[in-house]
């Protein structure tokens, strides 16, 4: 009788490859963040300050005072732009210039795992800021329980993926950590102006169309719908659904994921320029 025996595993069972590698990289990156008290305070404290300010001084003069989901949406949008996008560009460029990315690529981790590991702490803090925003909205301004939690989660997750990929691609035009302040401006400014934080209705026609295909705009729309059942300008979920608004918004975000993945693959630099 012949039996085929499997080669014995030489090591104690550990988490599956990819998860373990990303975990190890993320732990180190989190450790580095903990060693940087200013960055840590910024990351964790900003939403709290934001809540206090947004609550104390609701934006005036516009069509209406800050509606109920304003705190949650504004905090999440800022988290995606600054905590995630800007910070991740800075982190990736710092690791690249320290020749750490080059080293990591000589090991077992794949490019995607390296990116994910570097991004994990920033993603965690982004989601913390989003959570603070939602809780603050419910406790302070009577936003109520989110109407469609799945849509809210989809908006945050897709937004996260898009801005991680945009950060990776943006390292291509960022030669130093200091340069990140400049190189991230296009994405940050365009997103702030057209990203749905201000009512798009005030903008001229063609610009409105551009706004509709920007990732942050659609994240903001979906957050409003998911949290309150209506967008900021009062369009209800029903009206949105009738015009195919939700699938369209998801499609725009999916397109940004694909474009971001292609761009980061093509443009991300793993070593300093020589």
């Amino acid at each position: 009788m012949t039996t085929r025996t499997r080669p014995e595993a030489s090591t104690v069972r550990r988490p599956r490859g990819s998860v373990r590698r990303v975990g190890a990289l993320a732990r180190a990156e989190a450790l580095l963040l903990r060693r940087n008290p200013i960055a840590l305070l910024n990351a964790l404290g900003t939403p709290l300050v934001g809540v206090v300010l947004l609550n104390a001084f609701p934006p005036q003069g516009d069509a209406a005072p800050l509606p109920s989901a304003g705190i949650a949406v504004t905090l999440t949008a800022f988290a995606l732009l600054f905590t995630l996008y800007y910070n991740l560009v800075t982190t990736l460029v710092a690791r690249r210039e320290e020749l750490v990315l080059k080293r990591l690529r000589s090991g077992e981790s794949s490019d995607g795992e390296i990116l994910l590991g570097a991004a994990a702490p920033a993603v965690a803090i982004t989601w913390w800021q989003f959570s603070v925003g939602v809780v603050a909205g419910m406790v302070l301004v009577g936003m109520g329980v989110p109407v469609n939690p799945i849509l809210v989660v989809a908006a945050v997750v897709l937004g996260t993926v898009v801005f991680v990929l945009l950060a990776a691609a943006s390292t291509a035009m960022t030669r130093s950590v200091e340069m990140a302040q400049l190189s991230t401006l296009p994405v940050v400014v365009i997103s702030m102006v057209l990203g749905g934080l201000f009512p798009v209705g005030m903008l001229p026609g063609p610009v409105q169309w551009v706004a509709q295909v920007l990732p942050l705009t659609r994240v903001v729309d979906l957050l409003w719908l998911g949290l309150t059942g209506a967008t900021r300008d009062g369009t209800t979920a029903g009206e949105w659904a009738a015009t195919g608004g939700i699938p369209a918004a998801l499609l725009v975000l999916a397109a940004w994921v694909v474009a971001g993945a292609l761009a980061s693959r093509r443009f991300m630099r793993w070593e300093p320029r020589t």
């Binding site: 030489s10 975990g23 190890a24 180190a28 020749l99 750490v100 080293r103 090991g107 077992e108 795992e113």
Partner: protein, 312 residues
């Protein structure tokens, strides 16, 4: 391609995007437990070649097999079995030595204990120190420790002792010899001739992207002529004696230089001649060829002739 070695490289070319061809057709094979050295001046193409063998960069043409696999396409199966020390790579400066090693170990399939790897390179006592505080030599040893963490069967070392002082270098050499004894295969680049002489079972001298001499250090050196020199005596000098075949004589205003494949015979003939004519040969100097001479001969000749083994 008949795969006999742990590393098999065949007619490898690497052309950069700008068109510069850094590696222009190199072939060699490294057997298990052997240390093969790529020797060459800066810009000879050593690192460009090594990156392809490590699976970090694609070849323009030719074949590479590491442990019988394509190191680039099959990196998932190859990487867990190899260790790489890059010529230069860095650490996040706010981590300690142990934290850095632990992070690296976390990315490996079957790492050895972090403490063990640090002890192997004599960094155990620096475990809690920030990598920022390490000296150049200590950083280099940490590079090596990380490469050893995964218990590699094949080790790639790109200038492993550059920046190390003599004592450190000896320590690294000792460690490399121990690894070879346990069956580890090593592919190493260096421009330290002493290092290649000390460690290499076989080596190839690279020049302008080609492999120009390949063999054991003795074979590579053996092809090189020994050198005899002395100051030309003042006053009338009798004719030089009959010398063994193949000796070349070169006379500069100050000295005479002879190159010979038969050092002993040539020296005997010269000294006999000097004694019989009562000549005092000042600054008489005779030495067999060293790797350094073989190396300099290649670098100076500027010849683009690849050696037979490479063409095969």
């Amino acid at each position: 391609m008949e795969s006999t070695g742990v590393i098999d490289v065949g007619s490898l070319h690497r052309r950069y995007r700008g068109g510069f061809e850094a590696v222009r057709g190199v072939s060699f094979s490294v057997r298990r437990g052997e240390l093969f050295a790529l020797l060459g001046t800066n810009g000879a193409g050593k690192t460009s070649l090594l990156e392809v063998v490590e699976g970090l960069a694609p070849a323009s043409s030719g074949t590479v097999r590491v442990l019988g696999r394509d190191p680039l396409r099959e990196r998932r199966v190859v990487r867990p079995r190899i260790g790489i020390v890059l010529q230069d790579s860095g650490f996040p400066s706010d981590l300690t030595v142990t934290e850095m090693a632990r992070m690296w170990a976390g990315t490996l399939t079957a790492p050895r204990p972090v403490g063990e790897a640090l002890d192997m390179v004599d960094l155990g006592h620096r475990a809690r120190v920030g990598v920022r505080q390490l000296s150049g030599g200590e950083r280099r040893r940490l590079d090596l420790a990380l490469a050893l963490l995964g218990r590699p069967e094949v080790l790639f070392l790109d200038e492993p002792t550059s920046g190390l002082d003599a004592e450190c270098r000896q320590g690294v050499w000792r460690l490399i010899r121990e690894l070879l004894d346990t069956g580890t295969t090593v592919l190493l680049t260096t421009h330290h001739l002493e290092e290649a002489e000390e460690l290499a079972d076989r080596l190839t001298i690279m020049h302008r992207g080609l492999s120009v001499r390949t063999g054991t250090p003795a074979q590579v050196v053996g092809a090189q002529a020994a050198r005899i020199s002395f100051t030309w005596p003042t006053g009338p000098v009798p004719m030089l004696p009959v010398l063994p075949d193949g000796v070349t004589v070169e006379r500069t205003p100050r000295e005479v230089v002879l190159r010979t494949g038969d050092l002993q015979g040539t020296v005997s003939a010269l000294l006999e001649w000097a004694n019989s004519h009562n000549l005092q040969l000042h600054q008489f100097n005779a030495r067999s060829a060293s790797l350094q001479e073989a190396f300099l001969a290649v670098a100076e000749s500027g010849d683009d002739q690849r050696d037979e083994e490479s063409v095969a």
